[in-house]
């Protein structure tokens, strides 16, 4: 008697979201990136389709970042210049460039204006081919102002603007709607708020195929289990047909991993068996990302180019069909 493989039957799937627009689509990007689309739990190709591999975004800032010195050999010569930095990120294999407009922080001495930010975004778009995500400085009023200007400057490019939160989503949603961009909707490790936020954003008129969810993630050793279980529950919701839970997930693996002392501690302060910081930091980020990919992350934000390279290879291996 032949053995019958038991398969889950799902009725739903993860919504597909496209980032970027090529010339034919009214933009200038060299290619577009499709996120989501899975009709099964992560990488269980024998139960359903996994049409798009998880994408890798590399993080860049518009000002010199306060990152660990181990980033200097990779970005030290370009991080005063966002355009050169974006090009470098492309060289390191980023599918998507994730630009954080930290320079617009109103508490900084020479806080950038919305216009200046728009110019930077425009210049990055003119000099690169990858789809773009732009995150505001993280202050509601300034975010609204900056993202409005950025949205206009990038009209036609189908970038993603972020981050929209429960109490501050209206003007960002409006900026996205007006210029047909995608929106990053963030909820603080809370699946109920995640769902409610999606509902409110789509009710404003943002099409569901333009929304990406940031469920917020912890770093390895710092609450990643909690993030993992929320992502798992969200995917399960999507697969049993809950449309408001079916949006692709972005995970901030890089920033989270590099908040951990294990990633940063110099060798002399390291615990027993921690090993060399250079290897340790990269592995800390790569392992964080790997866990988030397994949990159902569709777009992984990475910081260290070497870690990104490892994770990309890991994803390729996971994408090999295991249908039987």
């Amino acid at each position: 008697m032949p053995v019958e493989i038991l398969r889950e039957k799902f009725t739903g799937k993860v919504q597909e979201v496209v980032l970027g627009a090529t010339k034919e689509e009214g933009g200038t990007r060299a290619y577009t990136v499709k996120l989501g689309g899975s009709s099964t739990l992560p990488f269980l190709q024998f139960e359903g389709e996994v049409p798009n591999r998880p994408a890798i975004a590399l993080e860049i800032w518009d000002i010199k970042p306060d990152w660990h010195e181990c980033f200097v050999p990779y970005y030290g010569d370009v991080w005063e210049d966002p355009v050169a930095w974006a090009k470098k990120a492309e060289e390191y294999g980023a599918d998507i460039i994730y630009l954080r407009l930290r320079g617009a922080d109103p508490e900084l001495e020479n806080s950038r204006s919305a216009d200046e930010c728009a110019k930077i975004v425009k210049a990055v778009l003119e000099n690169t081919g990858a789809p773009l995500i732009v995150e505001g400085p993280g202050f509601p009023d300034k975010d609204n102002e900056v993202l409005q200007a950025v949205g206009e400057a990038a009209a036609g490019e189908n970038i993603a603007l972020g981050v929209a939160e429960k109490d501050n989503y209206r003007s960002i949603a409006a900026a996205c709607m007006m210029n047909k961009h995608c929106i990053i909707a963030r909820s603080p490790l809370d699946i109920n708020i995640l769902k409610q936020l999606n509902l409110m954003i789509t009710e404003m008129g943002v099409p569901v195929e333009k929304v990406i969810n940031d469920p917020l993630t912890g770093g390895l050793g710092y609450g990643i289990e909690y993030a993992y279980s929320i992502m798992e529950r969200a995917r399960w919701g999507a697969l049993i047909g809950d449309k408001m839970m079916s949006l692709p997930l972005i995970c901030l693996a890089g920033p989270e991993a590099w908040r951990a002392k294990e990633a940063n501690a110099p060798n002399e302060e390291a615990g027993r068996g921690w090993g060399d910081q250079k290897v340790r930091g990269i592995m800390w980020e790569a392992m964080t990302a790997a866990a988030l990919v397994q949990a159902g992350g569709d777009l992984i934000l990475m910081r260290h180019p070497e870690a990104a390279k490892i994770v990309k290879k890991h994803i390729e291996d996971l994408m090999l069909p295991n249908a039987y």
Partner: protein, 264 residues
Amino acid sequence: MGFIMIGERINGMFKDIGEAVAKFDPKPIQHWAIKQTEAGAHYLDVNVGPTAEDRVKSMRWMVEVIQEVCDTPLCLDSTNYDAIEAGLEVCKKPAIINSCPAERPKIERVFPMAKKYGASIIALTMDKSGIPKSADMRVQFAMELVAAADEFGLSPEDLFIDPLILPCNVAQDHAPEVLEALRQIKQLSDPPPRTTLGLSNVSQNTLDRPLINRTYCVMAITCGLDSAIMDVNDDALVDAIATADMLLNRAIYCDSYAKVFRQR
């Protein structure tokens, strides 16, 4: 999986539908197809009614006129299996066959038909001698139906076992038996069969029908009820189902969960 609502209103037993079927007037049928779909129905029950002259012709016609105005999947309801087959032939989406009792000749007619058209079956826990009172007998019929599904190459999930609820004002003692039957039916196989009820039946000729329907529905959901043929335009009933779904952790809570339930 969330609760499946099957809209009961397109049934020749209702006066407006009965007349529409007799005159081949699509309007009342299409009106209810849209109204129930808007209320969140996942399936629409289609019953030509007892007075239709040519049930085969009427069923095919009803399926066609409904599909002109909405793409909600259908639940074809008739004791005449030629009429059901005629409906299945023109259904654009996988349908539910309503219904098949635990009687061998009927199983042999219905189950292969379900396989051929990719349909599910509402299977009744009764045979020629009628509806049993005890939960045990209901479960025994359910067991026969699950075994038959396996025999004809259907999954238990293709079955909606209906343990048959009777009006509480004439058969009050059946209500708890049906609840117990629902509990046990869910343990018959892995994956388990699905369950359904003709919900409105519980309150036939009672004074406060919506309250009895709503209360019994929530009680039954807790015992394993997956779907019901019901009044989907009763908002309080639908809200109670959405809440039960949420409290059983089948649907993720959000402030607008009742609204989300209807959008699904």
